[in-house]
């Protein structure tokens, strides 16, 4: 069966698309998890019981207090040595509030960096694939180099030079992770470009811009969506890594940065599991939700794996 036919069979109206999407187990789980975190991020000030960063709030609990529900298992712990539902950090700040505010950074960085990367990647992929020849050769060679250079060390170098701020982190992730998208888009453009409806458009006298935007881009978009989702997942992981290395924005708490402080202040030695466990799990859940959504989109929009002859 031709690729074209497969593509066609899976183009449906938005409503039909939503129906298919929500029949997909992965898609439903992904969207459910993500909605919780988006809700958290939007209503962080309303939900969180304390201000996670405010110096004045230092001492809301004792430093390194375990969460209060620990008393269920060990009644001997004095009341003033436990705190909240997730305990406190090295300065006695509320970890639960930090987790809630941390979702903002993860999602903002994830969406913004991914948007940057997808935007650059799609444009470069379109240009390289459509025009081909020397333009293609140069762009793809450049993409290959960025693909081959170890990502995190490059980002460390860039972030170290540019200085820590959310904007810089977004930029650094964005400009280093477009190549894989550009490659995928390019190969799809190469396929679509050879299709006969494009040739007909040329025979009817259409110009390049018209063909790119009217005929090629719409047929490439499904891949863009899928890759955007996967890319957000990766961007969130990278943001966590950079923050963990101390390259995060010191004015905004993020999950990676919580783990940075945990490491710096010997939380491991103190076996402060309540400090280490929640950020990791949150990162996992958010990343997984995007991977699930990407997977679901891929199954619906890019049916290669599903339809076997």
């Amino acid at each position: 069966m031709s690729l074209q036919k497969l593509m066609e069979e899976h183009i449906k109206s938005l409503r039909e698309f939503a129906n298919t999407f929500f029949k997909n187990k992965f898609g439903v789980i992904g969207v459910a998890i993500l909605s919780v975190f988006i809700f958290m991020a939007i209503f962080a000030p309303q939900i969180s019981p304390y201000n996670p960063m405010d110096v004045k709030s230092i001492g809301v609990g004792k430093p390194f207090s375990p969460p209060a529900w620990i008393k269920i298992f060990n009644k001997d712990i004095p009341d003033d040595s436990v705190f909240g539902i997730m305990g406190t950090d090295e300065l006695g700040r509320d970890i639960f509030s930090q987790i809630i505010y941390g979702s903002r950074i993860s999602l903002i960085v994830g969406f913004a960096a991914s948007f940057t990367a997808v935007f650059i990647g799609t444009i470069i992929g379109l240009i390289a694939g459509y025009y081909g020849g020397i333009i293609d050769e140069v762009l793809m060679r450049f993409a290959d180099i960025l693909l081959i250079i170890p990502g995190l060390p490059l980002m460390i170098v860039l972030a170290a030079i540019l200085g820590p701020s959310i904007r810089n982190i977004i930029l650094v992730i964005g400009i280093t992770s477009w190549p894989s998208i550009a490659r995928i888009i390019r190969s799809q453009v190469l396929t679509v470009k050879e299709m006969k409806f494009v040739e007909f458009a040329r025979a009817a006298g259409c110009g390049d811009n018209y063909i790119i935007f009217k005929h090629i881009l719409p047929n490439v978009m499904p891949l863009v969506y899928v890759n955007a989702a996967i890319n957000i997942a990766n961007a969130i992981l990278i943001e966590a890594g950079l923050s963990f290395l101390g390259l995060g924005d010191p004015n905004n708490i993020s999950w990676g940065m919580m783990l940075f402080f945990a490491e710096q202040y010997q939380a491991l030695l103190r076996l402060a599991w309540w400090y280490i466990f929640p950020p990791g799990i949150c990162i996992l859940l958010v990343v997984l939700s995007f991977i699930f959504i990407g997977h679901a989109l891929d199954e619906i929009l890019n049916p290669r794996l599903r339809l076997r002859r």
Binding site: E8, E9, K196, F197, A201, A204, G205, H215
Partner: protein, 339 residues
């Protein structure tokens, strides 16, 4: 604006003179710096023919013989390497794509694959109207809609309202191909290149699509270049036919003459190889062996000589020129040149 019918002095809509298309094998940036001469595939190598007004001209041959490339070159979808294309009395070989644009409404194309030829994200009305919009034919949306509806009726996609807003995946293969026919004929072109328009359709619906196409042709007096590998079909559709082998026309003439009394050894083999839907028919013996050699290194002299049962020494050395026989056919073979 009244449609002014310009009756040209020439009765040929298309004249192709010594058309050549060599594809340079794409190599990496670097390899091309190291080696001087890139390998070339001589897909079309000196093809000349003309198409009369209102005629259906067949271009037939096995895969890789250059028939499709020829069709694309005529429409300047591929840039020819050399030769001349004279369309409607105008030399269009060296026109820029911009200069070509107004001429494009007079020449169109229909493709083989019904699944690849329609944009899956466009509705039938937009697909058929696209040439109108590009050429800015209609003054209003209503006019455009009327033309599209009329076209749908002509290709028997009725009632048109029902098909207007469909997406290609909501159509069957035969219906798609009729949309492709409607799209090609909506500008009332003077020439259509039909590249194997029915070979991917089931037999039982082929003739329906063909008949729609032929009727449109009768209405608008369009000339058609019918590219096909199926000689039985060519026989039923075309008036004249050219048989191609490795980038060259080796025999050309009236379709019945060529197919019933082939003179070129290759045409003889080709016609003998076509299966006949009649169990009583005794199959002729196919005298030739082997498969078509690569166009990258075509044989010297007559390109058919390594497979030809009548090959002589000259055939490997001298390329046969095209001569006209008494019955009007053109042929390129040393059996007839007397060399």
């Amino acid at each position: 604006m009244p449609h002014v019918v310009v009756i040209s002095m020439v009765d040929e809509v298309l004249k192709v003179i010594n058309l050549k298309k060599y594809f340079t094998l794409r190599r990496g940036l670097l390899t091309s710096l190291i080696k001087r001469e890139p390998p070339k595939v001589k897909a079309v190598d000196g093809v000349s023919f003309n198409v009369k007004r209102g005629e259906i001209f067949g271009l037939a041959g096995e895969s890789g013989c250059g028939k499709t490339t020829t069709g694309r070159c005529i429409l300047r979808l591929i840039e020819p390497t050399s030769g001349k294309i004279i369309f409607d009395g105008k030399d269009i070989t060296n026109l820029s794509q911009g200069e070509l644009k107004p001429l494009r409404k007079d020449m169109q194309i229909i493709f083989q694959d019904p699944y690849e030829s329609l944009n899956p994200r466009m509705r039938v009305r937009d697909i058929i109207a696209e040439p109108l919009r590009i050429q800015r034919i209609c003054k209003s949306r209503r006019e455009e809609e009327e033309m599209v509806m009329k076209m749908l009726e002509e290709v028997e996609l009725t009632p048109p309202e029902e098909f207007m807003n469909r997406l290609p995946h909501e159509l069957s293969g035969g219906q798609r191909q009729r949309v492709a026919v409607a799209r090609a004929f909506i500008l009332k072109p003077k020439l259509i290149v039909a590249d194997e328009p029915v070979s991917m359709l089931d037999i039982s619906i082929r003739s329906e699509v063909l008949n729609v196409m032929l009727r449109e042709r009768d209405t608008y007096g369009t000339s058609i270049i019918f590219i096909t590998h199926d000689l039985s079909l060519a026989r039923h559709i075309c008036e004249r036919i050219a048989i191609m082998y490795l980038g060259k026309i080796i025999e050309m003439g009236d379709v019945e003459t060529i197919l019933q009394e082939p003179k070129h050894p290759y045409t003889q083999a080709l016609t003998a190889a076509v299966p006949i839907p009649d169990p009583d028919h005794k199959r002729e013996i196919i005298p030739i062996k082997g498969e078509v050699p690569s166009a990258l290194n075509p044989p010297s002299g007559c390109r058919f000589h390594p497979r030809c049962p009548y090959a002589k020494d000259t055939c490997g050395k001298i390329e046969p020129e095209t001569i006209t026989l008494e019955d009007g056919r053109l042929i390129a073979c040393h059996l007839y040149t007397g060399k």
